[in-house]
């Protein structure tokens, strides 16, 4: 997959449920439609939470990665 350049980065490391989703929802509203938010999280449960949040809000999850105990999500604001 081609490297994704985010327009903004949200550091949600160390936050517990449901704060990664709360912060993601707040931050996505601060970028333009078509732009990309990168979210960093340490809670393994954020994988299901953020994926499901993208589905229910209609935003596009471009990619998710795991490395060094950190989960990275790339979310494109769709609307």
């Amino acid at each position: 997959m081609a490297e994704i350049t985010p327009n903004k980065v949200l550091d949600a490391r160390g936050l517990q449920c449901p704060m990664p989703v709360v912060k993601t929802s707040q931050e996505i509203k601060t970028i333009g439609v078509g732009e990309v938010l990168q979210v960093l999280a340490t809670d393994p449960g954020s994988m299901a939470d953020i994926t499901a949040w993208c589905k229910s809000t209609g935003n596009e999850l471009l990619n998710m990665e795991k490395g060094g105990g950190v989960f990275t999500f790339y979310i494109k604001r769709v609307r």
Binding site: Q16, C17, M47, A48, D49, T51, A52, W53, T57
Partner: protein, 415 residues
């Protein structure tokens, strides 16, 4: 304005709610029972007034179909004032039901608040964030296959770590068919690790759910979505053929399991026991399936009864039995059990950043209660309470630590 609110709440107004509205004589017994009113003095926080306000709006005394009437009312700002009052009445409430305990008729204001919140959201009034998280929980079942492999890998990593740290033969089974107990955790390994240890010690035949127990649609009174989110778990339980569903230290989720699953799922849930881990772990201790090193903790500690486990589900003695088994200096809050003060963080308010200020205010009676005990640790069994108590600790400078009950039991296990 408020037309959608009125239309929706009329549809949601069940017979019990009508009776509550008719029966309430506004005696005022509920006034000092509400932690919001005690600290704010705002009439919108008086439980009986919440009933009156809803009645006034539903009777068309604030908005009706007549354009001239509505123009006149709007010109005087009556509707916007009422909308703001309704917002405070319905959202600045944790649904703790302390008012119902003091009410001579036991009127259930929280039932009104549930319908009121859902109806206000149709007007776009209230924290949308809670509903948004609820929607994501409904969608979880549709994406679970996408993340299942990853989740199982993560669990294997956690299992390997606990085998090194705790017991070489500890297992964290996922999707185990025929297991006796399906344990549905919260997001985060802190809700899995202590249970994995206790289940290992009790030699329980268990399996970890792919889902989590939280149900934010329940907080906003959207019962259709609350049911949909919970249905994924019921389907999982049936697919695996388990005998029991155990819910974690989470107040509102426990309440859905113990008080709503039967009416939501009927025959689909028949024969499957529903239990809180607090009850389950207490039963292990009572039956001798686990042993603990008595007096493991000598620090002065107290127990906060979460409204949804205590007042709303009747789980009072199990946590105390567990605490007395592991601690030497257990001190009760005054008052406690069904009269306990709510921490101020329930009803989903934790998930709404704009509610932080009112949460801190509404938590003042709890902070004072804690201070009076002189306890250094506050133990509780609800994730919302834990977060709120942590915030209160910081806000009021209480100098305490917040602990989970099963964490303490896991730490005190005698293997």
């Amino acid at each position: 304005m408020l037309t959608r609110f009125v239309d929706t709440i009329r549809q949601r107004f069940s017979r019990p709610l009508q009776y509550y509205q008719d029966i309430c004589v506004r005696c005022g017994a509920c006034i000092d029972a509400c932690h919001f009113y005690v600290v704010s003095g705002d009439p919108a926080h008086i439980p009986a007034y919440r009933m009156t306000l809803a009645k006034k709006v539903m009777q068309g005394r604030v908005s009706d179909g007549n354009r001239l009437h509505n123009w006149y009312r709007e010109a005087w700002g009556q509707e916007s004032r009422t909308a703001a009052e309704l917002e405070r009445a319905m959202w600045e409430c944790t649904g703790c039901r302390r008012c119902a305990v003091f009410c001579p008729f036991a009127l259930d204001t929280a039932l009104l608040v549930s319908a009121g919140r859902y109806s206000l959201l149709q007007e776009g009034i209230g924290p949308q964030m809670i509903a948004e998280i609820g929607n994501a929980e409904v969608s979880k079942g549709e994406i679970i296959e996408m993340i299942q492999e990853f989740y199982v890998d993560q669990t294997k990593e956690l299992e390997a770590r606990l085998q090194k740290e705790f017991a070489p033969d500890l297992r964290i089974p996922v999707e185990k068919e025929g297991a006796r107990v399906l344990y549905v955790p919260l997001v985060g390994e802190h809700a899995i690790v202590p249970l994995a240890k206790v289940f290992h010690a009790a030699q329980e035949d268990w399996t970890l759910s792919l889902f989590t127990a939280t149900n934010h649609s329940f907080f906003v009174g959207d019962m259709d979505k609350a049911r949909q989110a919970a249905h994924w778990i019921v389907q999982e339980a049936r697919r695996l053929g388990v005998k029991a569903i155990a819910y974690p230290e989470c107040g509102h989720a426990t309440r859905t399991l113990l008080s709503f699953f039967e009416s939501w799922f009927g025959d689909e849930i028949a024969g499957i026991e529903r239990i809180s881990v607090v009850q389950l772990v207490a039963s292990y201790l009572a039956e001798g399936r686990i042993r603990v090193k008595s007096g493991t903790f000598d620090v002065p500690l107290t127990y906060h009864d979460p409204c949804n486990l205590g007042r709303n589900s009747g789980i009072f003695e199990e946590p105390r039995a567990l605490l007395r088994a592991v601690a030497t200096d257990f001190r009760e809050l005054t008052p406690n059990r069904e009269l306990n003060w709510c921490c101020g963080g329930g009803g989903g308010l934790i998930a709404a950043p704009e509610m932080k200020e009112i949460r801190m205010k509404a938590g003042r009676p709890k902070a004072e209660q804690i201070r009076q005990t002189g306890a250094q640790w506050v133990v509780t069994t609800c994730e919302n309470c834990k977060t709120q108590l942590g915030d209160l600790n910081e806000h009021y400078g209480l100098g305490i630590e917040i602990k989970g009950l099963v964490d303490l039991v896991a730490e005190a296990l005698a293997l």
